[in-house]
Symmetry: C2
Subunit: 337 residues, 2 copies
């Protein structure tokens, strides 16, 4: 789906008064909203990319009846910080951790939020009176990184998000790759150990069953992956083995993404990666080992191909900003089947 | 690279008299030549897709000095069978098992043929006096399957070739996906067992090190994978275990291709697959097991997503035909980075 098609679809939508809210393609502030399992992050950004305001609501988004009020409240807080009102916004982009149908504006399924077939776009537009576009959060972040940030301008890039779930957003030849059924990039459910633990998806030994945030915590019998990384830093041998294993498995995922897609950049983000150096070191060690073993791996996986984002990169919220801009400000066409 | 760009590049090439050989985009017979490790297969096809003649030279292609004469001799045999001469051909497409630079017309590296940086296009054009286009054999086959055959019209498909090597040719949104460095689809060097055998590429436990034709033979201490399949059919327990393992690993490869690319069709071909039902049964059993375990796998891997080609499909030679047509008869644009 191209940006033009997206806009066309919206302009020809059944609801005629939505036309009044589109305001054409004009410069001005947009909001990017990143929905997480435990927080809602909002960025208000002007046409030049300057941040006008931000807000982070640390609370559960709640069930799907409570979703729209919770998102609107977080948006209003960021607007107040920016000394703006809803009417100043050209558009709002929202990244959702789950399966999204951007054409219909529905969240088809967001397991970790407990949402099923939620008409989030129309609900938010009715609540806030501004045009809204929604996208899967990882894909939104990939679009954002392609437009801005460490991978700006790369024709082919993968954004590997390692958090509550694991998935990749993939830009090929400058365009978002969705796949035939909108499920491209589901590397979290590639099988890395056929004798591994049973994944929530039903398969055994999915990448996600071993190195998602909850899986890392479960493997160490603690509450969070942050505890595991802290223990590894403190010298705990079991925690060190575990974070080394996470690094090996994520290097495998990067290697597999590069071997299949031949992307020129891989950007790693998501909550687990925010552990920083203790997260990054085992990953880079394993990538170096792969590179040393094979000329082909050395060519496909040069040392500078991988970037690990700091939490401050706000990849999710910037991705939501990029999605809003692409849909409503005529930015580069970034999507294809 | 689009077909137009390919043609433009050729028309603006340094050699002015090549213009005379292009003859514009007109209908007429083309030749497709599939270079293998032990044979050269040639198809002569008219503009309507009817086969006018064919030939198979069962002999080593030889070192790179002998490549052009060997290919020209196979072409001439097929032309004689079709009662045509070289001058009747609009163009010749050649599929090569190795790394190909279609813009320069060079075979950069074909390990199994022993060729390095061979200017095959210009050499063949000088020898036969007709326009030539060369392409990697697996990619050529994917282009051919997209234009014709079991996957005709699929917007997104992967052709998984299991032979002397293992690789995938991938069509996304109707176009060949090459990747940033022209190495997309190298699933044969994805790592399936980090404690597995050392692969020719230097890594340990690549898919190719376990289920390529030579690897299957090596694992059974015999000369060819055909012997292993024959022994499995005859009830040999060790051979049965081995062909079951091959099926499991190739199902893993298909699953991984679908989880990353979300293609709507996967076509399996190549010499190993020509063992037929004893090859296909363990593969389909493992795909059914994956499907039964997971709703997501069931959605992404429906039973009819995978086709295994019979040898008679001649996917390589038809792919070379498709490459010739795409470059010289204005067929659909089928390539992007």
């Amino acid at each position: 789906m191209t940006a033009d098609r997206l806009t066309d679809a919206r302009l020809t939508d059944a609801d005629p008064d939505r036309l009044d809210r589109l305001d054409g393609h004009r410069p001005g502030p947009v909001a990017g909203i990143d929905i997480g399992g435990t927080k809602i992050a909002v960025l208000i950004v002007d046409a030049d990319g300057a941040v006008l305001g931000r807000a982070t609501h640390v609370s559960s988004v709640g069930d799907q009846d409570g979703a729209v009020p919770a998102i609107a409240a977080a948006l209003d807080e960021a607007l107040a910080n920016a000394r703006l009102t809803r009417n100043d916004l050209i558009a709002v982009g929202v990244g959702v951790p789950g399966r999204v149908d951007p054409d219909r504006g529905h969240v088809t399924l967001a397991v970790n939020l407990g949402w099923t077939d939620l008409a989030l776009r129309d609900g938010l537009e009715a609540a806030i009176g501004r045009p809204v576009v929604i996208e899967n959060d990882v894909r939104a972040a990939a679009i954002g990184l392609h437009q801005r940030g460490v991978a700006a301008g790369a024709r082919d890039l993968a954004y590997l998000a390692v958090g509550t779930g694991i998935a990749a957003g993939v830009i090929l030849d400058g365009r978002l790759h969705r796949g035939a059924r909108g499920l491209a990039g589901e590397i979290g459910h590639a099988i890395v150990d056929r004798n591994g633990p049973v994944c929530a998806c039903g398969q055994r030994g999915c990448l996600e069953s071993l190195v998602s945030g909850p899986s890392i915590a479960r493997r160490a019998n603690v509450e969070s992956p942050q505890e595991v990384y802290a223990a590894a830093v403190a010298g705990d041998p079991g925690a060190t083995d575990l974070v080394d294993d996470v690094g090996r498995l994520l290097a495998w995922a990067i290697h597999t993404l590069v071997m299949t897609y031949d992307v020129e950049r891989v950007v790693v983000g998501g909550g687990v990666s925010h552990a920083g150096e203790p997260f990054e070191r085992p990953l880079r060690r394993e990538l170096a080992r792969l590179r040393a073993a094979s000329d082909q791996a050395a060519e496909l996986l040069p040392a500078d191909i991988v970037d690990v984002l700091p939490a401050e990169a706000e990849a999710g919220a910037w991705g939501a900003v990029a999605v809003a801009r692409t849909a409503f400000q005529g930015s580069e066409v970034v999507s294809h089947a």
